[in-house]
Symmetry: C2
Subunit: 118 residues, 2 copies
């Protein structure tokens, strides 16, 4: 579920959406995740959707060229068209360069313990 | 629910988490959103959490200085400490610069219609 252990810099595509018509959506989304995994430069993805239909999927990529190649993939373009025509009430898509990252609480917890030992 | 109409470049903090202990989490999260809104350079936020406890919150900021100031805010630091100690089983936090953004399907749908008229 987490995309772990990625070393910046890399790129993130943040895709926020609200579903209009969810019929067949899960199957298409699952297929796109499986397909993305086969793409060069794909690093991972994370996805959450609230019961009210609002969701965020973030996919991670080595560089912008990998994102462009994925955007133009024929089967992905079909899925995009279906999303535009039917699945989504609204979406926002942002391409961003990740410059730094942190994870926890494992490491953080340890740091706090060491501090309190002093 | 959507952060709309933002003009790149701007910054995104992508925070992915899995809840361990959700008691009191909603209240703390709500308070942090209300507090973030009062910060200079805050542009908006989006949040989704699946019923299984995996969630993604993305907050948007004008510049990195705004993110640093928010990170150091006293009440936010208390909330971070509570998150580390209790709320989160695991989290990943990434700071990224948004270089371009798209939204739809309103505009896209129109473009597709125009194309098919040709």
């Amino acid at each position: 579920m987490f995309a772990r252990g990625l070393t910046p810099p890399y790129y993130a595509v943040v895709f926020s959406s609200r579903l209009a018509d969810g019929a067949g959506y899960a199957e298409t989304a699952e297929r796109m995740v499986a397909l993305a995994k086969t793409m060069e430069g794909y690093l991972g993805a994370e996805s959450a959707r609230s019961p009210d239909g609002f969701g965020i999927t973030v996919s991670y990529w080595q560089d912008e060229e990998a994102i462009r190649t994925w955007k133009r993939h024929a089967e992905h373009k079909d899925a995009q068209a279906e999303g535009i025509d039917r699945f989504y009430e609204h979406y926002e898509l942002r391409v961003a360069r990740v410059s730094r990252a942190y994870s926890g609480p494992e490491g953080r917890r340890l740091i706090e313990k060491e501090k309190s030992d002093v």
